[in-house]
Amino acid sequence: MAEGKTLTLNMGPHHPATHGVLRIVLELDGEVIVKATPHVGQLHRGIEKIAEGMNFQQVIPLTDRLDYTAASLNNLGYCLAVEKLLGIEVPKRAQYIRVIMGELARIMGHHLWLGSHALDIGAMTVVFYTFRDREMIMNINEEASGYRLTPSYLRVGGLAKDITPDFIKFVRDFVKWFPTAIDGYHTLLTDNIIWRKRTMGVGKVSAEDAVNFGFTGPSLRGSGVPYDLRKVRPYSSYDDFDFQVPVGEVGDVYDRYLVRMEEFKQSINIIDQAIENLPEGPVNVDNPWVANPDLGAVMEDISALIRRFKIQCEGPHAPEGEVYASVEGSKGELGFYLVGDGSEHPYRMKIRSPCYILTSALPKMIVGHMIADVIAIIGSIDIVLGEIDR
């Protein structure tokens, strides 16, 4: 085709399939993409900058708003980073509950991914089934923390509160129900010829490329690299649980889909083990500089009252030093790089967001494909703009 005969198409930020306010400027030859330039930043809220002016506990609700589809995992990553900086370790019970909350959040994230991915490709019903099941996790979140989407349940040094008996009942119900729901998703999509045609061979990323592009999480594993932080660097007692890491081979949209579908099952497996083997004990560290004295003690003991004032006003003071801690988020490696300077604020907090790096590879992935594939690929790497723009 002669030069200058391409069509420039502005996809987003108000486009139903860009999962938020992502804007991609596409250059089209017919329907084939010649060039793609993603523009991000429409949702930039400066969380890293805001965090510098807050104390360590106050940052927790902010982290909820990163990847709001899987909020507890962000809490977990942040709390682990701070705890690593402070050099404390939370009790076993808190760790197990954190694992449960984290895995539930991962399932929530994958639910939203599956629903919107299928919706992008045109299967409009799957999203309602995933939201039916997501609702159950929302109820669990609500039972634990009082909020459904952004629970802010974790705290530096433990949890906000201990769980209730209803929580355990809800989780057990969910664990029991969810495998049938997964079968339902498989029935609707996996073998469906249209779904296969839309996803197989689309957006192929080889293992070398995936590593070079900085992929992490299911997108990396879909390309065949078995890198999972839960196995590689077990945190929060993940080494207590027996689970497997699903890995693809081809690295196309379909493989990433299969990997995530299998992760549903593995997460359920982990939750099942954690809820059955839940240890007794406290859920907060026994550290006077971190843990909030409970109300009963405050009423009676003046020193507890003072301590409560101290902790609520300032929170824990971090030692001077730098730390990088990361968790396996639902989208990939979610890392927090914290710099402490001896005060109660994080001197510098850098969030390593998996989606940001995934999006940077988008132009390489979609060139040569058609418009319809663009949304399939965007769906398959599962980006959340709250996390990209921070």
């Binding site: 329907e31 919706l119 992008d120 045109g122 299967a123 609707l188 594939d373």
Partner: protein, 328 residues
């Protein structure tokens, strides 16, 4: 003459009214069925189980603000929905709802007209309907619209062909192009039994012509953000919307006529059977929409040219052989 004319006018009005009612309520069926498949209620607020919803929607559609984009081609922009709805409505003329009844001594046929070349008329007019989609997309001056219009035209041209092939084999079996003739010929055995492959091809092509999932390329709300009707609002959008559902009704009626024996059926009177079959097909259209993902544009073309077209040809060949061998 006066008698003939008055019967004709009354019949036209009745057919128009009934058809518009069906069109309106097929939107209700769509929303209700989709809702229940998706574990929702669908419309519930206006009237009992939302039964007045189509009327409320219609009123809303007609009274909303009209927006014509600045760089739209205004005459074409206005013309497009009119073409769409006009084509859809003129297809209603030849639908055979039933055989004939005798009312007050007059023998009244339950179809407006029985054309000698009925099937050709259907094929011809339904292509005209696709002009509306194409021009609507092109004239709104929106890139998504243009892409939608392009997709629509390519898809319609491709699928028209296979659809015609499927129809031809039916015509071969029936020996007539008149729709009434085809229905009468099916009194004993429905064509779906004689022509299962043609039935399948016709359904697939029909869905493609209707721009319904899995072939809703021209709208594809996920990729093209509604495609050809992205810039349309209020009345003009309502016309497109109505045309879409009118086409769906006509498609269901055509399948009923060509393959499911039209008004034939035991016990119940003819028109009832006709409507039962038609509504079953409308239900099917909604049902499959709720289940299937969307094809990609090039895959749609591939399916049309590489699968359905050869299949249609093969079907004609087999039908011909069968007719020659058994000397029908």
């Amino acid at each position: 003459m006066v008698e003939f004319l008055s019967i004709l006018i009354i019949k036209t009005l009745v057919v128009f009214a009934v058809s518009m009612l069906i069109v309106a309520y097929s939107t209700w069926i769509e929303r209700k069925v989709l809702g229940h498949v998706q574990l929702r209620h669908g419309p519930t607020r206006v009237g009992f189980h939302g039964l007045l919803q189509p009327i409320a929607d219609g009123i809303k559609g007609f009274f909303k603000e009209e927006v014509v984009p600045d760089n739209a081609d205004k005459p074409v922009f206005i013309l497009a929905p009119i073409i769409s709805i006009a084509a859809a409505l003129s297809l209603l003329v030849i639908i055979p709802f039933g055989d004939s009844v005798t009312i007050m001594g007059h023998k009244i046929t339950l179809y407006l007209t029985d054309l000698d070349i009925g099937i050709l008329y259907v094929l011809g007019i339904s292509t005209i309907g696709s002009y509306g989609v194409m021009l609507g997309g092109w004239s709104s001056g929106n890139k998504y619209g243009v892409l939608g219009g392009l997709r629509a035209s390519a898809q319609m041209i491709s699928y028209e062909l296979s659809m015609a092939l499927a129809v031809i084999s039916v015509v071969m079996v029936s020996g007539t192009l008149s729709l009434v003739g085809i229905v009468e010929q099916q009194a004993g055995l429905w064509n779906i039994v004689k022509q299962p492959l043609a039935f399948f091809i016709f359904i697939v092509c029909g869905l493609a012509e209707l721009n319904r999932t899995p072939f809703d390329m021209p709208e594809a709300e996920a990729e093209l953000a509604c495609g050809y009707n992205v810039e349309y609002s209020s009345m003009k959008f309502a016309l497109f919307f109505m045309a879409e559902y009118a086409h769906m009704f006509v498609f269901s009626a055509m399948v009923t006529t060509l393959f499911l024996g039209g008004w034939h059926g035991p016990l119940l009177p003819g028109p009832v059977w006709f409507f039962i079959k038609t509504f079953a097909l409308i239900f099917f259209c909604v049902w499959e929409r709720s289940t299937f993902p969307r094809y990609r544009y090039d895959e749609v073309m591939e399916l049309g040219w590489k699968v359905l077209l050869p299949a249609g040809l093969l079907n004609i060949l087999l039908t011909g052989l069968w007719m020659v061998i058994f000397n029908i």
